[in-house]
């Protein structure tokens, strides 16, 4: 797949726009997951995914061949998402599960997952980003430092603190949920 993506990138750089389609189809789901995670499920993140791909396309000449394209894209996605979230911070935050008609019980159905969502809301976008990249994508701190433009040792400490924060919040949320059930 990596070779195919590299070939696509070269084709796009040579003027074959249609080759970009494979890149979109390959990465749109992972990007949506990432961006939704950082934003903790805020609405309209599909638009952000779209914007990220447009940025990836226009900046393709800056991508160095045979380096990690996915990390490079995540870097663009991270920066753009943070910009969007900063702008959105001035508006009331609307999470997907607060809008009755879009509560996806299949998506966030289990009590357990709802607790996680509530816990994630306690974290900052930066903290959610590092959890996603370190735990889910299993990237090294070196790779994450390129995406988030932060020092490696800083990231290491940030991750540990975020993890502690998550665990503490999760336990509090779980207790709270249990009390509600009773």
């Amino acid at each position: 797949m990596k070779k195919e993506i590299e070939a696509c990138i070269q084709a796009v750089k040579c003027g074959e726009r249609e080759a970009f389609t494979l890149i979109i189809k390959t990465y749109q789901q992972p990007l949506l997951r990432y961006i939704r995670y950082i934003s903790c499920g805020q609405r309209d993140m599909e638009d952000v995914v779209q914007d990220v791909f447009i940025k990836v396309y226009t900046r393709l000449s800056q991508y160095k061949p045979h380096t990690n394209f996915e990390s490079w894209m995540y870097k663009i996605a991270y920066n753009h998402t943070m910009t969007v979230l900063k702008k959105k911070a001035k508006e009331p935050i609307v999470y997907m599960d607060t809008i009755p008609e879009v509560v996806h019980l299949d998506t966030y159905g289990s009590q357990w997952t709802r607790e996680v969502i509530e816990t994630l809301k306690q974290l900052s976008p930066d903290e959610r980003a590092i959890l996603f990249l370190r735990v889910y994508k299993e990237l090294s701190y070196k790779e994450i430092s390129k995406i988030m433009k932060k020092n490696e040792s800083l990231l290491r400490k940030k991750f540990e603190r975020t993890k502690e924060k998550f665990i503490k919040s999760y336990q509090e949320v779980s207790e709270h949920e249990k009390r509600k059930i009773r």
Binding site: R17, I24, R36, Q50, I54, T58, T107, T113, Y136, Q171
Partner: protein, 340 residues
Amino acid sequence: MKNEKFDSIISQSIDQQDDSIDVTDKVMNSIQKKSLRPNTHFVKRCILLVCVLLTCTTVVFAGVKTFELIELRNEDEEVVSTVEVIDTETNCHLDVHLSKEEFIRYADSISSDPEWVDKSFIVIDTSLEYPVNMDLRPRYKNIYAYDEIKDIAETYLMPETIGDYTFDSLFLSYDAAFPDEKEIEDIISQHPGERFVVAEIESSDICSVTYLYENDGLSIEFEIDMDQPHDSFRFFTSTLIDYEVIRMDEMDFFIIEKEYLGVSYGPSDIHKVMGENCYASYWYEQACSARIALRPYMLSEMETLKEAVDGETVIMEVYPEDTKERILNFSKMLHRLFNE
């Protein structure tokens, strides 16, 4: 909560997202009218460099007051700091020798001067005796607000944190400017017999401190909660003597070359003696991950200890007869064990 459960919670919460999406048509329609940007990386670098140079010049001539924290000495049980204040507008120097209390009062008095309130201070790191390595010095320039200076003074000039040790220089670095091991080794080689404190202020509430001791190239990295510096530093002034850091990928290993007296820990600590030839000590600091000291021989105890460890940092106690290769092999094995 164990690492596996934590990882599982995070991963499953992501996996369970409904991530069906197809923006292909919208994106392709949008990019029809767009073209690829030329590679401006080199141009941006040049512009950035020019901006940085202009900014530095502007800062120097903008009347920003500077502190230069020169020495941190322990004389007669008193910690003394030499502070040089330079008013860049008048180019006047004020050399002041201060005790801890005086330094804080000095900072206080400056803060009450309307001219100084809300000003930024440039703290340049230290050592007039430093055989000039100009490449490194600019790295350590930091800008602190007044109350951060006061925090630094209260944290580092506290007698109980320094204990019996004498330090010739204090380096303060901020955020990404922390020196790497090679630079630290260079400092050590150029200052045989001297002791340093290299501190990294990561943010206003968390600080990492690296102590470097004489005769070695050895250092230990330690995170301190600035809200509770007493507890954190109390651990640190236990009688650790010589030690070495080996960094292995994502894990930090601190190897202690001599026996240490594990006393005076933080809020919670556990000592565990595991047999005549084995010594394991587990302690947990509020601001830090769990650390555990193991002897290389206690392989059979590994699983038990793994249960007890909540963090990712391992300290390994070794003896002079242990070869470096053996230590590295052992470290790799630990790394695998704690990450399986």
